[in-house]
């Protein structure tokens, strides 16, 4: 859209709206104003009349003291009436004055007609009057529709003074205002539009068009020296300014082009500089080896500066904290075999220079650049080795990283010599080089740390993997993050399958521990998982675990689960052993104490029987002396069962003596010495003894039991006391036989195996009897524990066996059994040391 169109589009609607709004406002304001003015007019005329004509005269009457004189009052009222007539004649409006009886004193103007006068004289007229201001309709026959009036009661004369105007005049005024407002607004709009258009065209649009054309010419870089716009306003000033501007642009363009050439050259140098820096950074990323990286950089800097040769190196500290220079890039200036060899030997690892009392060394010692274009005369120069290419100029630049001196760049033999400007120019490369050196150091340090970390990680991984425990790492949602070999073996689930799975899905034994795991992670306190029973096929395992938080509530936890079945068994065994030892001590004490009275009892019984025997002369002699027939006494004893009583006491005494004897076994060290014996032979000897251990009282017959022998014929001899091992085996055979007998087992069988297991020699005695409950199994080695009826056993057999194996032979004895599945006793004896 053109500027003209924009002006019209913006200004015309705004103008029309403004004028319409102004007109509406004016009409509204004028309407209110007319009403106010009309009321004010009525009020002014009436108030003025009352104050200046009525009240003034009344005050005059009073001041003259003639208010009571009728002639004066009549005179003054008549004057007031005449005044009202004059006012009505001179003003727009008419007076109606009523006396105290409602009669019209005066009616002025067109209302003063008989018909109207009659209407006014009526009482209805007075009652229909507004209190103060209002309208009043006229009776029919009047040309006017109504009156707009102001009513006032003048009390001193009891006059009702009304000043009224024709209502139609008031309405006519409003109509005139409306019409005139519309007319003026319309005319104003037309004139304003015309003026604005004309003004805009002459004063704005045309000059702007001229300026636009001139600006276009300036934009096309044409010479614009005279813009045909001579007005003295801002546009004329703008035209003059544009002329100046065009000239200035021409001049500025020439200067700019000149500067562009200069800047282009500078930029080319800068680009080369940045390219070198970019190459250095890229090289650092691609090839961290300092020799490779700095070789390229050195070539770039030599090319950039026009030098002949140079070096770049790290400034390091030796063990004595003395600086030295290690150059990773060095221009090959070798001049003989020795220097060539030196170069080849060090070019891949770096050239180390510890002697710094020379030009490049002083850069490090003084920590500042050295620019010299006559190095031979420089006092810091210590000369050159024989054959060294001549150095005509030298630039040594320390490389800092912050305050730390980290390296040095040395350049030599620039044709035009080295300058401070050149140093300033390549300073960005030097700074970048400092950052690269430090970054390289850090990267090397990081690599070393990463290698160490990797080794440590592998080491730890191997530990974790090789641990027999189940080690499972989990996240906060109990997803598996670590799964070691122990866990694989336990669960049968590979690490790949387990990772990411829910713990309970891959390790069902952890069901029910989610809350404990959450608490562990939340409170960052390790929690112990008490024993878990786990049945794997036919085996029952005892498990125990610990949940370790990983030090951060967001890091999860590690669960370690150990199979403590063996540990539990050993603990049980140790408890049993301790218990046995304590019971053994007690039994030994008791046995010693019981042995003496028991000896006395048995000896006394033996003496009674012997002194009742008629075979002893002393007995007969004594009986004769007292007249007693011993045969009768014996008969009496027989008949009265006293002999049986004595026999029973003797049997009981012997039985008690056996118990005491067995009890003494707990505390008494065997006198026998261990010898290397064949367990197979010991087993056979024990079986032979068992075969003769037939006892009807014991209600079993070992000979009816099938004996299966599974001997390891290669088993070496084992150091042991054969008699005691036989006692143990005999005890076990007897118990098995009793169990088979009591259970009335069909095809009763005892399987006896000898075998080598790990570093032990084992004897296993297994029957196919009724087996044992777990509660029984836990107590069978305890002294005086028996499942048989009272009196059928001492309850010390297995206890003594346990004592013999554990204490006397440093072996182990244990039982495995389940109800209905027989029982198995396993004896392990240590093999002889090789």
């Amino acid at each position: 859209m053109t500027l003209r169109g924009k002006l019209i589009t913006i200004i015309l609607p705004l103008l029309l709206i403004s004028i319409m709004g102004l007109g509406t406002w004016h009409y509204h304001t004028a309407t209110i104003g007319v009403e106010r003015a009309t009321r004010l007019y009525l009020d002014t005329v009436l108030t003025t009349y009352i104050e200046s004509e009525l009240e003034r005269r009344q005050q005059l009457l009073i001041s003259l003291g003639v208010a009571h004189i009728h002639s004066f009052q009549e005179q003054y009222q008549q004057e007031a009436v005449e005044t009202a007539r004059r006012i009505a004649a001179g003003q727009n409006g008419d007076f109606i004055i009523l006396d105290e009886e409602g009669r019209a004193v005066v009616i002025t103007g067109p209302l003063d007609r008989p018909q109207t006068r009659n209407w006014i004289d009526r009482p209805e007229f007075r009652s229909s009057l507004p209190t103060h201001f209002g309208t009043l309709e006229l009776p029919s026959g009047n040309t006017s529709k109504g009156l707009l009036l102001l009513n006032h009661h003048y009390s001193p004369w009891k006059w009702q003074v009304i000043f009224a105007i024709d209502n139609s005049e008031y309405l006519q005024d409003l109509g005139d205002i409306r019409d005139s407002t519309l007319l003026i607004a319309g005319l104003l709009a037309i004139i304003t539009v015309f003026l604005i258009y004309t003004f805009s065209k002459r004063m704005l649009l045309l000059p702007i068009e001229i300026l636009r054309r001139s600006a276009s010419r300036i934009a096309r870089r044409e010479q614009v020296s005279n813009i045909p716009l001579e007005s003295g306003d801002e546009l004329g000033e703008l035209a003059r300014n544009m002329e100046v501007m065009a000239t200035e642009i021409q001049n500025a363009q020439a200067i700019l082009e000149e500067r562009v050439v200069e800047r282009t050259e500078e930029l080319a140098d800068k680009n080369r500089l940045f390219k070198v820096i970019g190459n250095l950074q890229a090289q650092f990323i691609r090839e961290p080896k300092p020799t490779v990286m700095f070789d390229r950089l050195l070539l770039d800097i030599i090319d950039l500066t026009g030098s002949e040769f140079g070096f770049i190196g790290d400034v390091l500290l030796d063990d004595n904290n003395q600086p030295y220079l290690k150059c990773y890039a060095f221009t090959n200036i070798a001049w003989n075999d020795e220097t060539r060899r030196f170069y080849e030997e060090n070019r891949k690892t770096g050239f180390v220079f510890t002697d710094l009392d020379n030009l490049f060394g002083h850069v490090i010692l003084d920590r500042e650049s050295i620019i010299t274009n006559s190095p031979a005369s420089d006092p810091r120069s210590k000369g050159l080795p024989k054959g060294h290419p001549p150095i005509n100029s030298f630039l040594g630049i320390p490389i800092f990283y912050g305050e730390k001196l980290v390296g040095e760049i040395g350049l030599a033999n620039r044709e035009e010599g080295f300058t401070q400007e050149l140093l300033n120019f390549i300073q960005p490369i030097v700074d970048t080089c400092g950052q690269i050196i430090v970054a390289r150091w850090e990267r090397e340090s990081r690599h070393r740390a990463e290698d160490e970390l990797s080794s440590t990680r592998n080491y730890l991984h191997n530990i974790i993997e090789l641990m027999p425990s189940i080690l499972v790492g989990i996240g906060t949602e109990r997803e598996v993050t670590q799964w070691n070999i122990g866990a694989e073996e336990f669960s049968g689930i590979s690490e790949e399958s387990a990772l990411g799975q829910q713990l309970e899905d891959v390790l069902p034994i952890m069901k029910g521990y989610s809350r404990l795991i959450a608490e562990t992670i939340q409170q960052q306190q390790p929690r112990v998982i008490e024993r878990i029973s786990h049945i794997n096929g036919s085996e029952q395992h005892q498990l125990e675990g610990v949940i370790y938080p990983l030090g951060d509530t967001a890091a999860g936890a590690v669960i370690r689960i150990d199979n403590i079945t063996e540990k539990v068994r050993l603990e049980s065994l140790m408890i049993q052993t301790e218990k046995m030892m304590s019971v053994g001590g007690l039994a030994a004490g008791m046995a010693h104490e019981l042995n003496n009275p028991l000896g006395g009892i048995l000896q006394g019984l033996q003496n009674i029987e012997r002194r009742l025997s008629p075979d002893l002369p002393k007995n007969l002699e004594t009986a004769r002396e007292i007249g007693l027939d011993l045969e009768k006494v014996r008969t009496y004893f027989e008949q009265r069962g006293i002999s049986n009583f004595l026999s029973g006491i003797t049997d009981s005494g012997k039985r008690a003596a056996d118990i005491v004897k067995n009890m003494l076994m707990f505390s008494r060290k065997p006198d026998a010495i261990k010898r290397d014996e064949s367990l197979n032979e010991i087993v056979e000897q024990a079986l032979a003894l068992a075969n003769v251990d037939y006892d009807f009282k014991k209600k079993y017959d070992f000979r009816n039991i099938r004996i299966k022998r599974q001997f390891d014929t290669l088993m070496p001899e084992v150091p042991c006391i054969a008699s005691e091992i036989q006692q143990v085996l005999l005890n076990l055979f007897r118990n098995a036989a009793q169990a088979l007998s009591y259970a009335d087992t069909e095809s009763p069988t005892i399987t006896i195996s000898t075998l080598i297991q790990d570093d032990h020699a084992c004897i296993e005695i297994e029957d196919n009897g009724p087996g044992m409950q777990e509660e029984v199994l836990d107590h069978i080695f305890e002294p005086f524990f028996t499942t048989r009826e009272v009196g059928s056993g001492t309850g010390l057999g297995l206890s003594v066996s346990f004592f013999i194996i554990q204490e006397e032979h440093n072996g182990t004895i244990r039982a495995e059994s389940k109800p209905g599945e027989g029982a198995k006793f396993i004896i392990e004896l240590p093999l002889p040391e090789v």
Partner: protein, 351 residues
Amino acid sequence: MNNIPARLIRIALIALTALFSLSIQADHSKDSKRIILVQTMPVLPVLNHSRTFIEHLEQMGYVNGQNLDLVILQPDGDRGRAEAMLQETLYQGQADLVVTSATMASQVAHKILRGTATPQLFFTVSDPVGAGLVRALGVTGDDKITGKVHSVDRAAKIELLLRLLGSKHAGAPLRLGLIYSSYPSSVGDAKLLAEAAKKFDNLVFVPHRIPYHPVPDGLPEMLDDATGAIEQLDEKVDYWWEPSGPLGERDEFSRLLRDKSKRPVVFGTNMMSVKLGALLHVTPNDNATGMEAARLAVAILEGAHAGNFPVTAATDFDLGINLATALEMGIAIPSDLAELAGPNIFREIAP
């Protein structure tokens, strides 16, 4: 030799002081004006107008004894004496302005000053044209003379009276008795009243002239003559109209009319006449007359030509009405007249 500078300084100071004194004297002589005020006779309007004239002169910057040499001459109504006093005074020193109060003094001064450069200013003259002072009222061009007319237009006075009387004498012709002396201004006044009456229907003046005797010595004689005239006219007139001039200005004449006649006096010569029972009096305001005369005097003293100021009446008037007389006559005073009279409404008749 050492005293030479001191002597030179002293001489210089003396010379400067002398020059300063001379300049002051020159200024003083330049600013100081001389006015000769001639009062015809010591009657109330003459004295009042002279007093207010002098007061306003002072207010306008001309103070007697400072920058004004004011010489007041009082010939007590004697023309010859007035001529002698004025000539003697002029002989003693030229005046910048001669001011005259009332007709006789004005006529004497006009006669003496004719042909001289001394300007004349008059006031308290009721008929300057009739007195021969100027050719006409309200015009310019008269030589070196101007003034304020001490009079209200006779027709206006009659009209004012008729308004007061209202319809009291509607239909019948109204007869106003006028007893006047042969004093020039009184004669002129009677003549003008007669002419003015012609403008009104049903109104006539019934005049009666008596010889003038200089007051105050000749007053008893004039009163005797007036008593005779009252007796002659009392049945022929409806009301009395007091004349202007020395006779009318006297209270004795007003009392005479009130006491000797049955007819009320409807127009008094001055405000005292109203107090004594005359229904009405209207006269230029004394203060306004004095102030306007003083303005003219200052203008003339400061170089203006007197003939350029037309002779006009004073712009402010005093109206007096006796309410008691009005009530006795059964007249309701129109409100505008009552307001115009203001403080000059008298509720009783002075003895």
